[in-house]
């Protein structure tokens, strides 16, 4: 199964071919389910002028925040800036171009990119800044705007377990944007916590079929928590 064995030896090898000016989609929501090691490798490589598509842009000093600090990102397509001070600073100063996109529209645009749908209509954003300069069209007497698919050169995703074929399952809410991201790039690179033997995953439980995955690595994860909330036992 050499042709289907998606395993590569390192994060370095996994990002072979990533160069300046490329577009990358990065899975994760906040710091949950982000490809920590692949992001670190993008940082190490120092590639610049990247367009990054990701719901968030990490936090100061972790996740995609690392790439912001090193000024590797020239354009960000995201739904949330939130508490990322460096992101907000670069946005307000105009150092980075930001295309703020509603979260559901962002997910759907990535999904469309992977599914061969070049564009779709949605009511989200009608009559708001998001709808400016977009076609508005009525269906059944309601207004919708046209939104376009997103595709990328690389997708960097994070799974829980994967078999050699690149079939992936996600753990809890670390799924989020990862399955969509996996479908929408020319080269999809997945890092997972555990690589298992083919046959170990139940076919009906697989979240991301291996057809979407080109390269697979196993990583060590810090899994930093953004907001630690607890109840007393």
């Amino acid at each position: 199964m050499a042709g289907f064995d998606k395993r590569v030896d390192s994060a370095r090898q996994a990002l072979d071919g990533l160069t300046d000016g490329m577009t990358i989609i990065v899975g994760g929501f906040g710091l949950c389910g982000i490809p920590e090691n692949l992001i670190a490798e993008v940082h190490r490589r120092g590639v610049r002028d990247l367009t990054v598509v990701s719901n968030n842009c990490g936090v100061d000093g972790f996740g995609l925040g690392l790439l912001l600090e090193k000024r590797q990102i020239s354009k960000m397509i995201a739904s949330y800036v939130g508490e990322n001070a460096e992101f907000e600073r670069q946005l307000l100063s105009g150092e980075i171009e930001v295309e703020l996109t509603p979260q559901g529209t962002l997910a759907e645009r990535i999904r469309a990119g992977g599914a061969g749908i070049p564009a779709f209509y949605t009511a989200t954003g009608v009559g708001t800044p998001v709808g400016e300069n977009k076609e508005v069209r009525k269906f059944d007497d309601r207004d919708y705007i046209l939104e376009k698919a997103i595709t990328a050169d690389f997708a960097l995703i994070k799974g829980w377990k994967a078999d050699w074929y690149g079939n992936i399952v996600y753990r809890h809410t670390a799924q989020n944007f990862n399955p969509a991201a996996a479908t929408a790039a020319r080269i999809t690179v997945a890092e997972v916590e555990e690589i298992v033997e083919p046959g170990a995953l139940e076919p009906s439980h697989i979240h991301t079929p291996g057809i979407y995955v080109d390269r697979l690595t196993q990583g060590q994860f810090e899994k930093r928590i953004e907001k630690r909330t607890t109840r007393s036992a």
Binding site: G104, T124, G127, I225
Partner: protein, 229 residues
């Protein structure tokens, strides 16, 4: 007396019905989960891909892979399902959520809402809010009636919109109002708050029916976690 945040949550909670799938935004909306009336059950939806959000975890249960849309660590309750962001927003956009509760900077008589951006000042991003207001069949906005002496219930929103013509119900610390025919219709007053005060603090056109009862706030907090359901 203006309602406290907890009382606002309590009033919103009385709108819950048994079997509702509910999305609660960050802030006051989150507190609603503490006041679910006895005998009814709701399922909390979190945009990042969790339907059936449970209580906060104990220290031992904490799991970085189990968070809500506010990035807080949570648990999944019995009957929960977990899915992708694509599926999560298919639920929202497709109108499958029964009730959405979210905060706002401004609301106007046209049902417009502004909640995500103050130009040149605050850029948090819209996150899932635009999807929620466009998709939910049933939205309650919770916010203070004024901010810095300025009414937040306007004839026209001044800030960039989150959604257009989508809001019908607003709960403030002073009143519960519905939006009809380009006006706020005053339905309930916070206990001890006069119609005159509400009139004075509402910038958008206000319709005052002949009878405007005081709100009833009967539920006690069930002292669970904010994510109780």
């Amino acid at each position: 007396m203006a309602l406290t945040r907890e009382q606002m949550a309590q009033r919103v909670a009385s709108e819950l019905r048994d079997g509702y799938y509910v999305n609660l935004g960050i802030g006051i909306p989150t507190l609603v989960a503490n006041y679910i009336p006895p005998g009814i059950e709701v399922m909390l939806h979190s945009e990042n891909g969790l339907l059936g959000m449970g209580a906060f975890p104990t220290e031992e249960e904490i799991d970085p892979d189990m968070i809500n849309a506010g990035k807080q660590t949570v648990t999944a309750r019995v009957g929960a399902s977990i899915f992708s962001s694509v599926e999560s927003f298919a639920m929202i956009r497709g109108g499958h959520i029964d009730l959405t509760v979210l905060g706002a900077f401004e609301v106007d008589v046209h049902g417009n809402i502004a909640s995500w951006m103050i130009p040149g000042k605050l850029v948090k991003g819209m996150g899932g809010a635009m999807d929620l207001v466009a998709g939910a069949s049933n939205i309650i906005v919770t916010m203070t009636h004024e901010k810095g002496g300025q009414s937040k219930l306007l004839e026209r929103c001044t800030l960039p919109l989150t959604g257009s013509g989508c809001i019908r119900r607003v709960l403030t610390d002073l009143a519960y109002l519905e939006i009809h025919d380009r006006a706020f219709v005053l339905r309930e007053r916070a206990p001890g708050v006069t119609v005159e005060e509400i009139k004075a603090k509402t910038a958008g056109r206000l319709v005052v029916p002949s009878d405007v009862p005081e709100m009833r706030l009967s539920n006690d907090a069930n002292h669970g976690s904010p994510a109780h359901a």
